[in-house]
């Protein structure tokens, strides 16, 4: 049982960071980026390539991060920049369509480049676990959970302590008013999108260390969007607890009903929560 919780928490923190990228884009720009999962998988392939060159997966995170940042900036310029001044509903609908197309395109592009074989990166330390209070804790999972926490803290400091971060918060609350304060909204959109996609480098690596193939992006997006909705849409501080919640529910379901009911239980609880607490579990009132 304790061991189940450990796996639930570690998996949950992975769900949490996947959700973070989706929640940031949605919270700031009101874009729904269906391609976030595929971009995570793209990051995993870049990581695979780097590992074949001999770079350690964890050390390759910053490289993947920069690569995804630049790629996302180009994607934004070419595919998403036209939606900037649309109203909220139009933004959601159009970004959904565009990112769906993008996802199909990238899935296929990845298949063409890397074939549809299932891959994984297996460094020497991939199986290492250590004991704590009688529980086995996998090293990689723990590192991933720590990275998730660090990332959210950094993001919090960036948003609250820097002028640029404050302008991002301002844009998320009233885009037009922010522009009247002298905020360059297009640049803020571009940067926020690129940052949100570059965050995918962490789940990229964690997934690469498990296993991946070209078309599993949507599966991971689904986990992410469920967590985003559980946490209360647009609330970036709720994603980690909501991710942990989903991870633990899934782990408990495996423990009680067996592995084949994992997805079903997760989604059933999700629907139940939507009915009972439609605004999400971790919605905060007042300050951003």
């Amino acid at each position: 049982m304790g061991q189940t919780l450990v796996y639930g928490i570690l998996n949950g923190s992975l769900y949490g960071i996947i959700a973070l990228g989706i929640a940031l884009v949605f919270g700031i720009m009101k874009y729904l980026n269906l391609a976030q999962g595929t971009l995570i998988i793209l990051g995993a392939y870049i990581g695979l390539y780097l590992s074949q060159l001999g770079l350690d997966p964890f050390l390759s995170i910053p490289v993947v991060m920069v690569a995804l940042f630049l790629f996302a900036a180009v994607l934004f310029k070419t595919c998403f920049s036209r939606l900037i001044n649309f109203d909220e509903e139009e933004k959601i609908k159009n970004s959904l369509l565009i990112s769906f197309g993008l996802m199909l395109f990238l899935d296929n592009l990845i298949t063409v480049i890397w074939t549809s074989d299932e891959r994984s990166i297996t460094p020497a330390y991939s199986g290492i676990t250590f004991e704590l209070f009688g529980l086995r804790i996998p090293l990689i999972g723990l590192a991933g959970a720590l990275l998730a926490v660090i990332l959210i803290l950094l993001l919090h400091l960036f948003l609250t302590r820097t002028y640029f971060g404050q302008s991002v918060v301002a844009v998320s609350q009233d885009q037009e008013a922010a522009s009247l304060m002298g905020v360059n909204v297009s640049l803020t959109f571009l940067t926020s999108f690129a940052i949100s996609v570059s965050i995918a480098s962490i789940p990229s690596m964690l997934i690469a260390l498990q296993s991946f193939s070209p078309t599993v992006g949507l599966h991971w997006f689904n986990k992410g969007i469920v967590v985003v909705i559980l946490s209360g849409i647009g609330n970036i501080y709720g994603v980690l607890p909501a991710g942990l919640f989903l991870g633990i529910i899934e782990a408990l379901s495996v423990y009680i009903f067996g592995p084949s009911y994992r997805e079903v239980t997760g989604l059933a609880v999700f629907v139940l929560i939507l009915i009972l607490v439609p605004k999400g579990l971790f919605r905060r009132r007042g300050a951003a």
Binding site: Q173, L180, A287
Partner: protein
């Protein structure tokens, strides 16, 4: 000096402004008078860069401003208090004010400007840690004006700042606008209360269905029978009902 010349604005195929020309000289208060739907907000928004005019020019001194995005227009020296306040509701009062000084040149003077804004609106200092969304309507409007002042700009555009506020508060805000203008800031003001606005302003333009149909010294417009009938709803015989500001 802010000069608008021959401005056309369309929403899609619908033209709402037709060849608008006006100017706001340094240190002036200029009022824009017109009934609902005349195009006042559209004109203010076009000057602020929120809508791109289809024809005509907007200049601040020699700088051409039409076709520029809003953030460049603020940098050029024009701040706007939008209709409906448009605060950042989840940010605190102080954070809203700091956002007002987002531009680099304003950031350098932020502490001084903040002191000045707090002097004008002491209540903002008392409420500085409260989320803007929880302020009263009047306090929100003060914050909207204070936030625009934080940019330390030479031109202030005010769109219906007194909407929904108590008469006493409106009188106060008008006094404050006069006071702000004393410091050398030019003001272009849109208001529903025509007599009060004409008393505050130096000059005024009258706009009807997207056309400028009259202009002149505010005082003479206040006394012109045409304005009195159309916007004050009174004939020349009811002098006294205009009351004092």
């Amino acid at each position: 000096m802010l000069v608008v010349d021959g401005l056309d604005v369309h929403y899609g195929d619908l033209q709402v402004l037709w060849g608008i020309s006006l100017e706001v000289r340094d240190g002036e208060i200029v009022a824009l008078i017109g009934s609902n739907g005349a195009g006042k907000s559209t004109l203010i928004r076009a000057i602020a860069g929120l809508i791109r005019p289809t024809k005509g020019t907007i200049r601040l001194d020699h700088l051409l401003l039409n076709r520029r995005p809003p953030h460049e227009i603020v940098k050029a020296g024009i701040s706007m208090v939008p209709e409906g306040r448009r605060l950042f509701p989840k940010m605190s009062v102080l954070q809203n004010l700091r956002m007002g000084a987002f531009m680099k040149k304003a950031r350098h003077e932020i502490e001084q400007t903040l002191g000045w804004v707090y002097d004008i609106f002491p209540v903002l200092k008392e409420r500085s840690d409260q989320p803007a969304g929880l302020l009263s309507g009047g306090e929100q409007q003060m914050l909207a004006i204070g936030r625009a002042l934080m940019a330390n700009n030479r031109v202030l555009l005010l769109d219906e700042m007194s909407l929904g506020l108590s008469p006493l508060l409106v009188q106060n805000l008008f006094k404050i606008i006069a006071q702000i203008n004393e410091t050398g800031i030019s003001v272009l003001i849109v208001e529903q209360n025509v007599p009060m606005t004409l008393r505050l302003a130096d000059r005024a333009y009258i706009i009807e269905t997207g056309h400028i149909v009259g202009e002149g010294a505010a005082e003479s417009l206040l006394n012109s029978p045409r304005v009195r009938e159309a916007y004050l709803g009174i004939g020349p015989e009811c002098e006294d009902s205009l009351g004092g500001v």
